[in-house]
């Protein structure tokens, strides 16, 4: 099992296009990957491979999320997704 927390800093959070990029990246791994929005509700998680689930977490810019993976390529899945979120999911991150 692998687990990391990361702050979402791209302007539109995990909505729309960034959510789609995130879900497509997660879908490339065999591991079961789940996401929690620590800022909004620590008790609720969603599959990182479900665009509706990820959007339903309501992750806005500035929210912290936890990515937990279990399975063969769990470590690689978490590293890839954390890097993707940190790099802005295709959007430009504006320094506060």
């Amino acid at each position: 099992m692998a687990e990391r927390d990361v702050e979402v800093r791209n302007p539109s959070g995990l909505h729309a296009r960034p959510a789609a990029s995130f879900v497509k990246a997660a879908g490339a791994f065999a591991a079961d990957v789940r996401v929690t929005n620590l800022t909004r509700d620590e008790a609720k998680s969603a599959s990182a491979k479900s665009v509706l689930g990820v959007m339903g977490l309501g992750v806005a810019r500035g929210h912290r999320i936890r990515i937990v993976a279990t399975g063969d390529d769990a470590e690689a899945a978490v590293t890839t997704l954390v890097d993707l979120v940190a790099s802005g999911l295709g959007e430009t991150i504006e320094e506060a």
Binding site: P11, S12, H15, A16, R17, A20, V23, K24, A46, S47, K49, S50, V51, L52, G53, M55, G56, G58, A60, T92, E94
Partner: protein, 553 residues
């Protein structure tokens, strides 16, 4: 039996066709395949739709269906629906209920962007349900008037446009997706017709009059002849107009006026240029501020503005600073309740109470300009006097200091407040261009509230008072020297209004791209001397009706 129904006119024109009733797939039909198979078919259809829209240059619309394709393939959605089916639920009901649960979750998150996505979820689940029962994709077989309570975007884009004769809705408004589509296609639309679906179901024929907001079920010979005659005349006129759309906007003796487009979304720019625009004369930026819970940051705005500058490829782009007011307050931009928001703290008058709003927007425009290497034109709405111009000049100066590699923008003002007309000589010396917003100017000059339908007859911009205001602004700009005059109100897109404006000496007409053909054809039918004479005579006419009679003579 002939039945006449009344609604709200939403798109001009007249047509006769068979009613084609759009009914969302309901649980009354039983499934003929499994949820995963139906979902896969729906996802494939959505991907193909996105591809087609991208090929047609409609990138923004394509993105909606990219996202919908991903939703249709969502494993959690399918697992939940499949589990319900395994537990004994009807598959059509299962996908509908699951979608409803997800949509409700989105709506409960108190996030405007996500709330808007709830409609997409419902649209996707309706499509999966359609595949479940094996219903054919919505398809027109003859010239049809499409009838529905409301028409979701996925249905409207799939209908065969050659057979789509008109749209009639029980719900909806002039600004709903279907009404906008109808205006873009040049077909009539009537919205807000009570009990329409029930009455039209089973009818053989429907006549629609989009100008009067009238629908006639089973029209008699008199109505048929009237509508058919108008439809034929409209068809001839449209064909004639279309043949002018790509030509320059010029009089018969070659006096040129710049033909520009009004747009409200970045994605509309490409289509405007394809339709024959020589520039963007009014890029409304309210879209960047609407439908969100926090103010848009500089980066988001710059991305949107850069899209338009890129699409323009060096043609002029006039970006209007946000025209926000108490009529449509935003959650992050509180405006105290006002008795009359159109005479209230709106547009640049917000600069004092919201000190970050315009500096951020002007920096974003210049950042987009620096990124694309294209000069932007910045236009301030609701300018009343030279102090307001100085405020805008100051905003631009400060932003240029922050974005030093941006090309210096052209700076201009909207002329819509009557004081700006009276002070036009002084203002013209301070700006590079003035664009007359004839909708608001007419309302303010004639003291006739634009939102009051009872005053519709007093809102005609062809009124001699408005024409004199335009003439005064043109004279002031000519005296100042280096100052151009444009008109970006609806008057510029009305053939009669356009003839008068060219005669009064404006340099640019900015309008909805769908009006290009009609305006160019009208202007090409007269010489500049004829139009100048007309412009002079119209200023001493007794009323807007008298002016229109003069133009028609």
């Amino acid at each position: 039996m002939t039945t006449e129904l009344r609604g709200v006119p939403a798109a001009s024109g007249a047509a006769i066709g068979a009613p084609w009733i759009h009914q969302p797939a309901g649980p009354q039909r039983s499934a003929r395949t499994t949820v995963p198979a139906a979902a896969a078919a729906a996802a494939a259809e959505l991907e193909a739709l996105a591809e087609r829209l991208r090929a047609e240059g409609q990138a923004a619309e394509a993105e909606i269906f990219d996202a919908q394709a991903l939703m249709a393939a969502d494993p959690e959605l399918l697992d939940a629906a499949t589990s319900a089916v395994d537990a004994g639920a009807d598959p059509v009901a299962a996908i509908g209920d699951t979608g409803e649960t997800v949509a409700a979750t989105f709506e409960a998150l108190d996030d405007e962007v996500l709330s808007a996505r709830a409609a997409d979820v419902r649209d996707v689940c309706a499509r999966i349900a359609r595949h479940l029962v094996g219903a054919a994709a919505p398809r027109l077989h003859q010239r049809s008037i499409v009838v529905a309570v409301d028409l979701p975007p996925s249905v409207t884009v799939e209908l065969d446009r050659a057979l789509l004769a008109g749209i009639a809705l029980e719900g909806g408004s002039r600004t709903s997706h279907a009404a906008i589509l109808a205006r873009g296609l040049g077909i009539p639309a009537v919205v807000g017709v009570p009990d329409l679906v029930r009455i039209a179901t089973g009818a053989g024929e429907l006549a629609i009059d989009g100008d009067a907001g009238r629908l006639v079920v089973e029209p008699d010979d008199g109505v048929r002849a009237d509508i058919a005659g108008r439809a034929a005349a409209d068809g001839d006129r449209r064909a004639a107009d279309a043949s002018f759309a790509a030509l320059p906007l010029a009089t018969s003796d070659g006096h040129r006026v710049l033909c520009a487009a009004n747009i409200g979304e970045p994605g509309e720019a490409l289509g405007a240029f394809a339709a024959g625009a020589e520039g963007i004369g009014l890029f409304r930026t309210e879209f960047a501020f609407a439908g969100r819970s926090t103010a848009p940051n500089e980066q988001d705005q710059a991305d949107a503005y850069a899209t338009v500058l890129e699409s323009a490829g060096g043609a002029p782009v006039v970006v209007r600073l946000a025209d926000i007011g108490g009529d449509k307050p935003l959650p992050y931009l509180p405006i105290p309740t006002e008795a009359n928001p159109f005479l209230g703290v709106r547009a640049i008058r917000l600069a004092a109470s919201h000190p970050d709003l315009f500096p951020t927007q002007v920096r974003a425009i210049l950042a987009a300009s620096a990124r694309t290497g294209r000069q932007a034109s910045i236009m301030a709405p609701m300018v009343a006097d030279a102090d307001d111009v100085a405020l805008v000049r100051g905003l631009v100066r400060d932003a240029l200091a922050a974005v030093p590699d941006a090309p210096a923008p052209r700076v201009g003002i909207m002329v819509e407040v009557p004081s700006a007309v009276l002070l036009a000589d002084a203002l013209a010396r301070e700006v590079d261009f003035m664009s007359i917003g004839t909708n608001d100017l007419t309302a303010y000059l004639l003291a006739a509230d634009r939102t009051n339908a009872a005053l519709a007859a007093r809102q005609d911009p062809c009124h001699p008072a408005v024409l004199r205001a335009v003439a005064r602004v043109v004279e002031a700009a000519a005296a100042a020297g280096d100052c151009e005059v444009a008109v970006c109100g609806e008057m510029a897109g009305d053939p009669v209004g356009a003839l008068l404006l060219v005669g009064l000496g404006v340099d640019e007409l900015s309008m909805e791209p769908s009006a290009f053909g009609a305006v160019k054809r009208a202007v090409a039918s007269r010489t500049i001397d004829e139009l100048r004479t007309l412009g002079t005579a119209a200023q001493v006419a007794s009323s807007a009706d008298a002016v229109r009679a003069l133009v028609a003579a």
